[in-house]
Subunit: 436 residues, 2 copies
C-alpha cells in the first residue's frame, strides 16, 4: 500500500566527477534521472556538478541536504582512490560507515562469475551507513546507499550509467512511490513541431495562449530543425482536460508542422507511420555516414520496417552497393541532386523496400566546391509515388550539419508518409524477419 | 598584449532550462564550455542547472556572482515569453537594460537575409546592460552579453548550441585570454586504456603511483569498455616533465591495453593508423545499425581511409549489398560467426578496401535465441593477413549493447593495426576521393 501523495518534492541531483566539468563525458545522469522523475510528475529542482574534491563534496551535500526533500548523488562510490563520496557524505551526515559482509560476498561472487581475481581495493565498496540500507547493483560491484530521516531521503548511486539506470528504475523509483513522493504521469503537455522557427511558432500560437493569460505556462525549446512547446497549468483554474484541449487546438493550427505530442523522435514518428501502412524503408548516405541509419536502428523492433542502408563514401561503394551509374558521378559529382536520386532509388530497389531516403553533401570542415560549399546537402526521397530531390544548406560544424541534414530528411519522410495516407494503396514489399 | 596570467579562476556555469531538468535535452553546454576551458588549463568549478523561474535564476545568479571570478549563463536570451534571464540578471546586478539600435539592425538584417518577416517578439533581444557590451552572434538573433566589474566577469550566452559554440570560441575565449584568465594547454595528462576494468587498471599502475604519494593526483573514468586515467600534479614538487615521464612509464606497463594520451576516440586512433599505413576500411553492421560507420564519418577527412559500409538489417540486404551467400543465412542465421565473416569479407571485397569490420548480434530488447540470447554479438575482422571472428556478450539496454559492441570492434581493429605494423607490407587498395 502506498502512502498518500505528498506535495511536489524538492529534488536535488549532485553529479560528481571532474570528467563532467572538464567536458570529457556528457552528464547523462541529469538526462536520465530528470527524465525518469518527469514521468512521475516531478521536475528536478536543481542539478549541481562539482569536482571530486572532498571539501567541495561536503559543502555541496550539506547545502542540498539542508533544503531538499530528496538528494541524489551520482559517482564516487567505486573502488579507486578518487572514489570518496561515501566517506565524505558519511562524515557530513554524522553517520558511521559499517562493513557489511553481505556486500563483500556479492562483490566476490561477481568477480568469481567473470573468472577474474578480485583486487583488494574493491573492499572499499562493502561499507554502508550504520542506519541506512543498500540499493543492490546487479551490473557492478558498488551498491548504492539509501538513508532516510525526517521526511528526507538520501540516495547515493554509482557513476556508470549501465549500473545507475537499472538501479534507479528497479529500486529507487518503487521506493519513492511507496513513500508517496511520486505520482503517475507528466505534469505538462508537450507539442513537437518541425520545420518552423521558435519565434514564428510562438507568434502562430499566441492567439490561443492570449486567451488563458497567466493561467497557462508556456516554454519553448528549439533544437536542430525542431521546436518543442511545453504547456502546463500555472494556476488551479486550468484543469488537465482544458490543457489537453488547448494543446489540441495548437496542434490543429500548426498543420503538418505539428509532429506530435510527447517525446517521440522524428525517426520514431516515421517508423510508426511506416509500420501502420505496412511499408518498408532503405536509406543511403554519404555525408551523414550512418547517422540516418542509426536513428532508425536505435528503435527497438526496427527490423519490422527497416531493410537496411548503405554508407557510401567512395565512388566505388556507390556503384557497387547501390548501382549508381558511373556517368552520374562523372558528370554531376557525388554531391548532386542526380546522385542523391540514384542513391535513394538504388537503396530502395536493391533492398526491395517501398521507400528510399538518401543524403549526400559536404559536412565539412574540408571539401566543398565553389558551387556547393561546405554545408550543402542534397536529399532524395524515392516512394511508391515517385522520386524527388531537395537542396539544403546548413552553417556550422560537422556534427551540426550532419544532425540538421538527418532531421531534414526525417521530417521530409514524415510529411510524405502523411500525404501517402490519402493516396490509393500500392502493393507493399516484404523484407527480412530477424529481430536485431 | 595580454595581461599577466592570474591565479586559476573560480568559474561557475549556470545552465538554464527546464528541458535540461526534465531530461528532454542533454546538457551539451557543460560538455562544450568545460571542454573549451580545459584546453586552457582551467577546470570549471561548478555547473548548476536550474529552472527558468525568475526567483530561482535571481538566487542562483547572486550566489555564483558572490563567489566566482567568472560566471557564465546559458539560455533564456531568446524572443519568447519564457526567455527572462536578461531581465532577471539585470535586476540582480542592479544594471539598467538599454535598447541598442545596433542590435535591432542586426536582428532585422538577419530576418531580411532569410526572406522571413521579423515578428515583434524578437525586439526583446535588442537590450543590453547599460555598462556592458554585447557578444556578437553570427548564427542567431540573440546577442550575448558581457559585463565586467572588479576583477569579475559575467558572460551571458544564448541556448542554441550552434549559436553558443562559435560565440564562445571566437569571442569569449579571446577576451578571457586578453584579461589573463587563461593559459595555453591542459593541466593534466590523460592515459586512455581499452579492454581492462577500472580496478584492474589501478592495481596494475599502483606501483608507479605509490612512488609519488601525495604529490600525484589520480582520477579514473570508465566508459563502455574503455577506462581513462588522468594524472595531475598535487604539489609543486611534481614538474610538468616529471608528470609526462610518469605517464609514459604507465603507458609502457599497459602494453596494447594502452590506447593513447589525450582525448582521441578509438575510431580516431584506428583512422590515424589506417592513414599512416595507407590502408582503407569498409564496415558492415546489423545490430549496431550505422553506429560503427558513424563513428568513422564523425571524423573530418574520413574519405581518406573510409570506403563506406552496409547496414544490412534484412537478409535480402546482406545478400544484395554484400554478397552474403543465402546458405550461410539459412544454415547459421544472421547472428552467427559465419555471417559476421561473410559480411566483413563482403564489405572489404565489394568496396575494394584492405580491412573489413563487421558486427552482427541481438541488441534487444526483443529477439535473441536460446543459444544466442539478447546481448550476443559476433564481430569479424577481414584484413590483408586473414579473417577472424569473435563472440561477445553484453548485458544492458539496447543503446549500451550497441555502444559496447562498436567499442569492442574498434578496439579489435586498433590492436590488429598495431600488429600489422610488424608484418611484411602487402599492396594497398585505392578508394574514392570526394571529401564529404
Amino acid at each position: 500500500m502506498s502512502a498518500a501523495v505528498k506535495p511536489k518534492p524538492i529534488v536535488e541531483l549532485i553529479t560528481l566527477g571532474d570528467e563532467l566539468l572538464l567536458g570529457l563525458t556528457a552528464n547523462g545522469h541529469l538526462t536520465y534521472v530528470g527524465g525518469q522523475l518527469r514521468r512521475y510528475g516531478v521536475t528536478l529542482t536543481r542539478n549541481v556538478t562539482i569536482t571530486d574534491d572532498a571539501p567541495a563534496i561536503a559543502a555541496q551535500f550539506k547545502e542540498s541536504w539542508g533544503r531538499a526533500n530528496i538528494v541524489i548523488t551520482t559517482g564516487g562510490l567505486g573502488p579507486t582512490c578518487d572514489d570518496r563520496t561515501r566517506e565524505v557524505v558519511a562524515r557530513a551526515l554524522g553517520q558511521d560507515l559499517v562493513f557489511d559482509p553481505a556486500i563483500e560476498r556479492a562483490i566476490k561472487d561477481r568477480f568469481r562469475s567473470f573468472g577474474r581475481p578480485m583486487t583488494a581495493n574493491n573492499l572499499k565498496q562493502a561499507y554502508r551507513f550504520r542506519d541506512g540500507e543498500i540499493i543492490p547493483n546487479a551490473h557492478g560491484t558498488a551498491p548504492g546507499l539509501w538513508y532516510a530521516k525526517d521526511e528526507r531521503v538520501l540516495i547515493m548511486l554509482p557513476g556508470p550509467p549501465n549500473e545507475l539506470q537499472p538501479m534507479f528504475t528497479e529500486e529507487v523509483l518503487p521506493r519513492l512511490i511507496e513513500l508517496g513522493w511520486l505520482e503517475d504521469g507528466e505534469s505538462y503537455v508537450q507539442l513537437r513541431s518541425a520545420g518552423i522557427g521558435e519565434s514564428a511558432l510562438e507568434t502562430r500560437l499566441q492567439p490561443v495562449f492570449a486567451r488563458y493569460g497567466e493561467d497557462l505556462a508556456v516554454a519553448f525549446c528549439a533544437h536542430q530543425g525542431q521546436c518543442d512547446c511545453r504547456l502546463s497549468p500555472a494556476s488551479d483554474r486550468l484543469s488537465r482536460a482544458a490543457l489537453q484541449a488547448i494543446a489540441e487546438e495548437c496542434a490543429g493550427m500548426l498543420g503538418e508542422d505539428f509532429m506530435g505530442f510527447g517525446h517521440d523522435s522524428l525517426a520514431k514518428l516515421c517508423a510508426d507511420r511506416l509500420r501502420a501502412a505496412d511499408r518498408t524503408l532503405a536509406v543511403a548516405e554519404t555525408a551523414t555516414g550512418g547517422m540516418l541509419a542509426n536513428s532508425f536502428t536505435d528503435l527497438p523492433g526496427a527490423t519490422k520496417f527497416f531493410a537496411g542502408g548503405a554508407v557510401c563514401y567512395s565512388n566505388q561503394s556507390k556503384m557497387q552497393l547501390l548501382d549508381v551509374p558511373e556517368e552520374i558521378l562523372m558528370q554531376h559529382g557525388a554531391v548532386s541532386a542526380e546522385n542523391a536520386v540514384a542513391m535513394a532509388a538504388g537503396a530502395a530497389e536493391k533492398l526491395g523496400a517501398d521507400y528510399g531516403l538518401a543524403i549526400t553533401g559536404f559536412a565539412g570542415p574540408c571539401g566543398g566546391t565553389h558551387e556547393n560549399p561546405v554545408g550543402t546537402i542534397f536529399l532524395a526521397l524515392y516512394s511508391p509515388f515517385g522520386v524527388w530531390s531537395k537542396r539544403l544548406s546548413y552553417p556550422g560544424p560537422r556534427q551540426t550539419v550532419k544532425r540538421r541534414a538527418v532531421n531534414a530528411a526525417l521530417d521530409w519522410l514524415r510529411r510524405e508518409l502523411i500525404k501517402a495516407e490519402d493516396q490509393p494503396a500500392l502493393p507493399a514489399r516484404a523484407i527480412g524477419f530477424d529481430e536485431y
